[in-house]
Symmetry: C2
Subunit: 340 residues, 2 copies
Amino acid sequence: MPAASVGDVRSVTMADVAREAGVSRQLVSLVLREVGYVSEEKRELVLRTAEQLGYRRNALATSLASRRTNSIGLAIFDLHNQVYADFADGVLDVIQPAGFQLLLSTNTRDQKSIAAAVESLIGLRADGLLLATHIPGELNLARLLAGTPTVTIGEDPDIERVDAVHGDDRLGAYQATRHLLGQGHRDIVYIAGPPTQQNTGRSSGYAEAMAEASLPTRVVEGDATEAGGERALLEMRRSEALPTAVLCYNDSTAFGALSCAQRERLRVPNDLAIVGYDNTRAASYPGVDLTSIDQQARAMGAHAAELLLERIADPARAAEKLTLAPQLILRGSSSFYRGT
Amino acid sequence: MPAASVGDVRSVTMADVAREAGVSRQLVSLVLREVGYVSEEKRELVLRTAEQLGYRRNALATSLASRRTNSIGLAIFDLHNQVYADFADGVLDVIQPAGFQLLLSTNTRDQKSIAAAVESLIGLRADGLLLATHIPGELNLARLLAGTPTVTIGEDPDIERVDAVHGDDRLGAYQATRHLLGQGHRDIVYIAGPPTQQNTGRSSGYAEAMAEASLPTRVVEGDATEAGGERALLEMRRSEALPTAVLCYNDSTAFGALSCAQRERLRVPNDLAIVGYDNTRAASYPGVDLTSIDQQARAMGAHAAELLLERIADPARAAEKLTLAPQLILRGSSSFYRGT
DNA sequence: ATGAAAGCGCTAACAG
DNA sequence: CTGTTAGCGCTTTCAT
């Protein structure tokens, strides 16, 4: 009778392969792990019968026994936000060649689910964590991590042994504001985002540039969404307090502002100049043509991944902080001299 | 001497908690799993000392022992594509309340990495798989899955016991083409995508509508990217073979076509009408204003997740196929009667 | 409620 | 190259 193939097909085990091939279980392990010397003959025999039996190595058991998962966990806030996808791309660029797998965990902005995401990633015993999400101060991240090698992206929680990679938000917003000032604007509003470090940085860069020009600042609330940008602009319009230019916390906010401007028949940039932040794909679409600040998200992801691999190798070393320079991308939404 | 807290902080185990709390290891397990009756007193004691010791349940060991991971794997093609993010959202809507965790795996379009993604998800022993990616015919998916409960999204590989959720691509493209015909267009080109089932469906819907109107079809190649859309349009322009309208495989392609049209000083929709597919966020941006077909990606993800949960519960049942109706969203890029 | 015993599928260390 | 002995951290079953 041939070996019956009924039942749970997934439970083919190393022992099964060994038995079928007539070799020791260890030999199978050696072959599959590609370590040590195994005669070509046996190698092929093992590989062939494994293939034949439909054997798949149980990563759970492997990791449990070897105490390493070769995976790194990435906590991301919102899959829809291009910036996070860019982070992820950069991370993959680095970790895949190094033989690590990515465990992606999405979480919403509230504190509980961030904690849940981290818990889950640690529960999976990821070798290291990448946090590309806002970290509320009340979270006690240090305690949550309990020593897991971690690198943050975009924010710096300033915890011992936690590296951080971020853009220079202050500088980015400063440059953008200077650009608007250079275009002759005096009345410039900053449509803020949620109270994150990034918002703080961008806000202060804006304030600094305005102060240098001896101009008063004006900040209105937003929430990093299109709806928020629309609402913010509409309110100013209603209260007849429209500025001549707005600097937005991010591109989404700017897209909302653009929508509102169009609906209100405001000409951009003539009646209102608009600048975003992130330089997402859509910023360059014809008809959108949004001036924005590129914070090199992909590079940030890659650098963060590199730092993490180093930290995994040497968990005790001092925390490293990396800041990437932002780049102002000029487009039609803020400039009277439109390029093609 | 207090228990030293040096060394690998993560290796607090159930046995440690039990010892510290002065109870049995099984009791700890019971409390943590929230099953059976445990006196409130002991419950709290266990929970407290676990918290104190910074204990985290090892998901690997748990899964290995219990033979279920409570996780479902989602293979996605491209994080940057909004449609996939929508799928993921829908999936999360369903599986999170059900107590399942999402394992996200990104892969590129080539056959090898799709196989790798599936292998990896199976290796992690995901309880079920969701495949939101093109499945090449040569892949022998059935063999690869080896019985793992699976639902595909967007394509139907037609494998026994594999459920599929997809949009009615033929109908979507048919409606879009009819719309263009209704606008008076006779010369309509379809800018195709890669050879996927979705492309086949959209292509035939287009052909059907054209045939009904006794008009010849014209299909040019694209690759589902902006660059592809740009290239396709530019080539027609160069060879003086511009149609009056183009139907694009997806929104990305359409955005590329829009860029090209603008650069070539073509007025949209007067000189050229453009229709996309997917109804992504950016389609509704002011200045883009792209007519597109909404395929209800989020709902597709949710339905797929529901089917998967059912299949996990009953792996033997017959495959179910679900088709969601597409919806044409009219915007300025295709219509002379522009709204708002 | 607890304890004992067995086992999930694998790696690791070492003697042969 | 093979076999043995351990053990990873947890669940499960059964008896107490």
